[in-house]
């Protein structure tokens, strides 16, 4: 729509009343309102960054430990003062363990979700009967509709106990793989949290991959089939190369989702502040889950510390999402060459 709305301006200038009557003033006002809405949206995003920084900095200044490498979380701790009588604040907190846990748990979730999501996307796009495909797609989308607190409850009550036999079995036979195994006991573990996360990010990865797979030019698919390819060979030589970067972009988007997921992880992890890389060990933690767990008891510095960790999460997810868009944008010109 490029044609100006008022290309036929009257010769004499109109009075305000006339301009109101012919709708020009309302027209201007509405256009103005729409632009304001656009500015306001940008302002909200700027305000998110601004207020997080504003509330995080005082707490960070009081922090006596290195925020990025320290593993414990004691922002409201106190210490007996030099005179031996008073308690003075002795805040020490850092995201060393939290940031590791966040990225590690999300990576495991990706490792579990991506192969299944690609399988689901291929099934719906190229294997399921045409008539059923749309309904099956809806069913997979329903996975995204279940609230995260319900996944958390399900993970806590159903999944954690049911995973113990599997964890024991895998530990017994595969303990030589570094990340498998436990430092003692079984129960709420990184693996359970990652599995819940995997279920939660699966629908988004599957939905985007499915869309990308369906965009493969029919000529390419038919060419493969005409050469005598089996269905799998057709997918391998025409669908997968075309959809590769779309799937990569979907994976990164799913990663961003997993990083920020809070309540489900908070319910399924028994949080501690160690670097836990053995996935069946009870323990592990994430930035988001830590915010949910610590919030109720946080004092003044504690709140600032949680907001500081949230700021880190915001920046990480921002970078991850921008990276996903970057891949997706690059993908389109490369794929559209038929």
């Amino acid at each position: 729509m490029t044609a100006p709305a008022h290309s036929n301006r009257p010769l004499r200038s109109l009075s305000r009343r006339e301009r109101f009557a012919n709708g020009e003033i309302q027209d201007r006002a509405f256009g103005f309102l729409a632009i304001i809405a656009g500015y306001l949206l940008l302002a909200i995003l700027a305000a998110i960054a601004l207020f997080l920084v504003l509330k995080a900095v005082p707490a960070l200044n009081k922090n006596l430990a290195n925020f990025f490498t320290y593993k414990q979380w004691n922002p409201d701790a106190t210490k007996t003062a030099a005179n031996g009588l008073d308690d003075v604040p002795h805040p020490q907190f850092g995201i060393g363990a939290l940031a590791f846990g966040t990225v590690f748990t999300s990576l495991i979730a990706l490792a579990l979700a991506v192969p299944v999501a690609i399988g689901v996307a291929l099934f719906i796009a190229y294997y399921a009967p045409r008539r059923l495909a749309m309904a099956l797609g809806y069913i997979v989308d329903l996975l995204a509709a279940v609230p995260s607190v319900v996944y958390g409850l399900w993970g806590l009550i159903f999944l954690v106990p049911h995973l113990i036999p599997l964890s024991k079995w895998l530990t017994r036979y595969f303990h030589w793989i570094p990340i498998l195994g436990t430092d003692g006991g079984f129960g709420k573990s990184v693996f359970a949290a990652a599995l819940v996360l995997a279920v939660m990010i699966l629908p988004i990865i599957a939905a985007i991959s499915r869309e990308v797979f369906l965009q493969v030019p029919q000529t390419q698919r038919e060419a493969a089939l005409a050469l005598g390819a089996t269905r799998w060979e057709m997918i391998r030589i025409s669908v997968l190369p075309f959809g590769k970067s779309g799937v990569a972009s979907a994976t990164v988007l799913g990663f961003g989702r997993a990083l920020g997921e809070t309540i489900a992880v908070a319910l399924v992890l028994s949080s501690n502040f160690e670097i836990v890389y053995k996935i069946f060990t009870p323990g592990g933690n994430t930035i988001a889950a830590n915010i949910a767990n610590q919030y109720g008891d946080a004092g003044k510095i504690g709140l600032g510390a949680l907001i500081a960790s949230g700021l880190v999460l915001f920046v990480i997810t921002l970078i991850v999402n921008l990276f996903a868009r970057f891949i997706a944008r690059r993908a389109i010109p490369a794929g559209s060459v038929v």
Binding site: A29, G152, W154, L156, I157, L227, T262, I263, G310
Partner: protein
């Protein structure tokens, strides 16, 4: 792009090999099922999940081997992938069925009149009464306020993007809507906590929670209504302009009404998305055991928060309440989804 590996000899091989008959293809899973049953009857193996996994692996091995011997490597790989892909779909659906089945089975226990008419005021963890009346009121109010702000705001931004935006600023807004989609819900909560609750000193309230939900809802509303507005054919706009309507009239009386069903559907999906959010509410609404009908002052409860708090207790009575809360929440969200989907289906069938 990988080089196609269809050498002439392998095509010849493909054309001339025998195919497995329908009877063999049906017989293999039946046989594998019987063998699995036998194995689980006489060995220490047990458990339904283990059985399914065992059956699946056995079936994959037997079918691939038989197919490789009779039909050749290429068809065997094809059948192997087919089974793998079906397996992936089953693996994706299993958690959905498990979550829904479990929630319905466990939630039915307290799905009674008391649950919907009583709050948790004066109810101990171990009491078997108490309900989510306060949480339902809170959720309805918070979602209502969030929708009331996000819908006009979001639709206006989408109108800006489709009808007015040009140049760098339009692209920037569009880009940052994408960025906003990726903001984790807990960060939205922290934002309102830092700004509204702490910096401005308004304290915890249902309205603060509604603001956080609004931040989460906004990009979804903008994107979905933008898609719908883009579908309105330019000829409709041009027709309106040619008749001498102002641009505002064209937008409000022609373009938006034409896209309205789709916009409403997008709004329903956006509401469904925020209805289950608990993390931002934890930070802004805080939670309350008593009924607080005023969203503008004092801590409230919300259904997702109610589930989270009850799930954190050890008493079975509290866990039962959590499940019923989860069931109520799922029913609410699924209902919103269903209305939206049926709307889309009706719409597309009417258009077609």
């Amino acid at each position: 792009m990988t080089t196609p590996t269809l050498s002439p000899s392998s095509i010849e091989g493909l054309l001339s090999t025998r195919r497995l008959s329908r009877w063999v293809l049906a017989g293999i899973p039946v046989g594998c099922l019987l063998v699995s049953l036998l194995v689980f009857a006489v060995t220490p193996f047990q458990g339904r999940a283990d059985f399914l996994v065992f059956f699946f692996f056995l079936y994959m091995i037997v079918q691939t081997t038989v197919s490789a011997v009779v039909e050749g490597r290429r068809r065997a790989v094809d059948r192997f992938v087919l089974a793998l892909v079906i397996g992936a779909f089953v693996a994706a659906i299993a958690p959905l069925l498990s979550v829904l089945g479990f929630t319905i089975a466990r939630g039915a226990k307290r799905f009674d009149w008391t649950f919907f008419t009583h709050s948790m005021s004066g109810v101990a963890e171990s009491d078997n009464n108490g309900g989510a009346y306060h949480a339902i009121i809170g959720t309805v109010e918070q979602i209502g306020i969030a929708t009331a702000i996000a819908v006009p705001f979001g639709v206006l931004v989408s109108i800006y993007l489709t009808e007015y935006a040009k140049g760098r600023f339009g692209r920037a807004v569009s880009f940052f809507v994408d960025v906003m989609t990726g903001v984790p819900s807990i960060v939205a909560g922290l934002f309102i906590l830092a700004a509204w609750v702490l910096a401005f000193g308004f304290g915890h309230s249902g309205f603060a929670g509604a603001l956080a939900l609004m931040v989460l809802m906004l990009p979804t509303v903008v994107r979905s209504s933008e898609e719908m507005l883009k579908l309105v054919p330019p000829s409709l706009r041009e027709g309106g302009l040619a008749l001498g309507l102002t641009r505002t009239r064209v937008v409000l009386h022609i373009v938006v009404p034409a896209a309205l069903p789709g916009i409403v559907t997008g709004i329903m999906l956006a509401i469904a998305r925020i209805a289950g959010e608990s993390a931002p509410l934890l930070l802004t609404v805080f939670g309350n055991v008593a009924t607080n009908t005023d969203p503008f002052s004092g801590a409230q409860s919300a259904l997702p928060l109610f589930v989270f708090n009850e799930a954190g207790n050890n008493n079975q009575t509290a866990i039962d309440r959590a499940w019923t809360g989860a069931l109520t929440l799922i029913i609410l969200v699924m209902l919103l989804n269903l209305i939206a989907r049926v709307g889309v289906a009706l719409l597309s069938s009417k258009r077609a």
